[in-house]
Assembly symmetry: none
Amino acid sequence: MFESPLFWPAYLKKNVLYVLDETLVPEKLKYIPVKDARQAVAVIRSMKTRAFGQFLVVLNTFLLELNPKGDLLKHIKDVAGQLNNSRPTFPFAEVTGIITGVAQKASANGGDVRAAVLKTVQGFLAGIRARRLQRVQEIAEVIEDQDSILTHCNVSGELAMAAAAAQKQGKHVKFFATETRPYMQGARLTVWELQQARARVTLVADSAVGSLMADGLVNKVIIGSDRSAANGDIANKIGSYQIAVLAREFDLPLIVLTQPSTGVASGKDMPIEIRDENEILAFKGKKIFGPRRLGFYPGFDVVPHQLITKAIAIHAGL
Amino acid sequence: MFESPLFWPAYLKKNVLYVLDETLVPEKLKYIPVKDARQAVAVIRSMKTRAFGQFLVVLNTFLLELNPKGDLLKHIKDVAGQLNNSRPTFPFAEVTGIITGVAQKASANGGDVRAAVLKTVQGFLAGIRARRLQRVQEIAEVIEDQDSILTHCNVSGELAMAAAAAQKQGKHVKFFATETRPYMQGARLTVWELQQARARVTLVADSAVGSLMADGLVNKVIIGSDRSAANGDIANKIGSYQIAVLAREFDLPLIVLTQPSTGVASGKDMPIEIRDENEILAFKGKKIFGPRRLGFYPGFDVVPHQLITKAIAIHAGL
C-alpha cells in the first residue's frame, strides 16, 4: 500500500529516531537523526517537524531514553520536563504526563519501569497508526468512481493514501488542489503527495474555486481541520470557510477530517491566530511587494457545522 | 487631481506608442515603445498591458499603421485581423470593426481613408478619456464615509482616483485588496495605486475574503469587469464570481464598473480564456513547485447579473 512520508514523519530504527525535515519537502526527503532528548527538543524547537510529526517525536523520545546511567523514573520525568518546555504553548504535557504516570505507577508497584514505558509508548504508537489507517479507509469509501474532488491546504498523508486506496478499488478519481496562499501548502505538499499516490491532480489558484464549481468541474470537497468545537464547527486553514459557502451554493458535499473536539462549545470560541503580515507580503522569505505595505493574515477561519456534510473523525482515545 | 499612471497607460508620441509595462509596475514605471501592429500584438499577448491598456493599444495601433506600402484599406483590415486574433476572450473585433467600417466607407465614397481613420481614432480616445473621468466621479459618489471596501484585481486607475476624490469630499474610507493570484494584480497594482492616492489599504490573500466578510470587516465590494453581456452578466478576473457569491451571502452591495455590452446575450456566451498553466506553476518567471505539475488557470469567471447590486457603466458610444 502507498504510504506518504507525511503520514508518519518520524520512525525509530536501531535506537535512532529519523525525523522528516518537513521544511524541505517535497524538494528533498531528508530525515534528521535524533538520538536523545536534547536533539529531540532541538528538532521540535526549529519546527523542522510540525503538528503530528512533533507528537511522534515526543512519544518516541521516551524510547530513546530508556537506558540512562542513573535512576530511570527520575530520568523519564526529566525527559518529560525537557519536552514540555520545548514549545510552551503546545499541549505536550498531556502526552508526557501519561508516560510519567505509567513509570511512576510501575516504580511504586515494584514493577519494571522500562518495560512499562516501552509497552505504553509502543501501544500508543500502534493505536494511533491503526486509527489513522482506518480513517484512510473511511476516506477511500466516501470517494466514488468518477469523483472530481477539490481539496484545500494539506491533510498530512491521509488524503493521498485514500486516493491510492480508492484507485486500487477500481475507482477513477481526479483532484483539484488549491494553492493555499500564502504558505502554498496545497501547491507544495498536496499536489506532490497526490502525485506520489499516482492520483491525477491539478493545481488551481484559491480564487478559482467558485469558477470550478460553477462549471461543474468538481463534485465533492474534502478538507482537513485543525480544531473541532463541541457543536461540530471546525477551524481550518484560511479559505476553508469560503470554500464551504461555495460548496453549499452548488449542493456539493463537504467532507471534513476532524480532530477530537477540544472542549470549546462552538467556532466562535476558537481564537483565530492572526499571523505576521510578512507572511503575505513575502514569498519564500523575500519581500515581493515593496515597502510600506499593510497585510492582514488570519491563519485560519471557522466553518460552521451547518456547512459540513460529513465529518470523518479520528476515533477517540490517544 | 491625482491621476494614476494606470488610468491612461499608453500614449502616442511622434509615431511611437509608449505602452506602460504593467508587469513591472510599481517597482518601475517603464514604457515599451511600440512601432507597428506586430509589436502591438506581442505586447498584448505577453500581458505587458492589460484590459484598458490593451484597448488603448488596439486603438492606437491603427494610428501606427496609416502609412503602409500597399493599399491602406486592405492594410487596415489586415491590422484589425491581427489584433482580433491576439486574445480570444477579448472583444477587440468590436472596436477594430468600427475602424475597418470607417475605412471601408471612406474608400467606397472616394474619401480620404487615412483622414477618416485618424479622426475616428482620435475622437474615440478623447471621448473615452472624458467618460472615464466622469465615471471616477460616479464611483466617488457610491463611496460613503466610513466605508470598508473590498476590491479584487485592479481597475486601472479609476478606483484609486475615486478614493482620492472621496477623501477630498471628507469621507473616511479604507480598502482591502485581494492579492489576485496568480498574477498578483491586487498586491502589485491596486495596493500601490491606492497608496499613491493616499488611501488606507490592506492586502489579503484571495482565500481571506469569506473570513473578512464573516467578521464584518468589509461593508461594500467594488470590482471592475472585462466584458459585459446584454443581460448584465459580466466577466472579470478569476475570483470575482466567488467574491460575488460571498457578498450576497452577507448582503453586501457588489458594485461593478462595467464595460459597454458587447453583444453576447449572457455570461454563458462569453468564452473564458484558459491561460497557460505555467502562469500558476511559476512565480515571477521561475518554476516554484517542481516538475510534472498540472495547473489549470481560467483567467476569468462570470458574475451573473443577479449578484450585481449596481453597475457603473462607461457611458455609451465608443
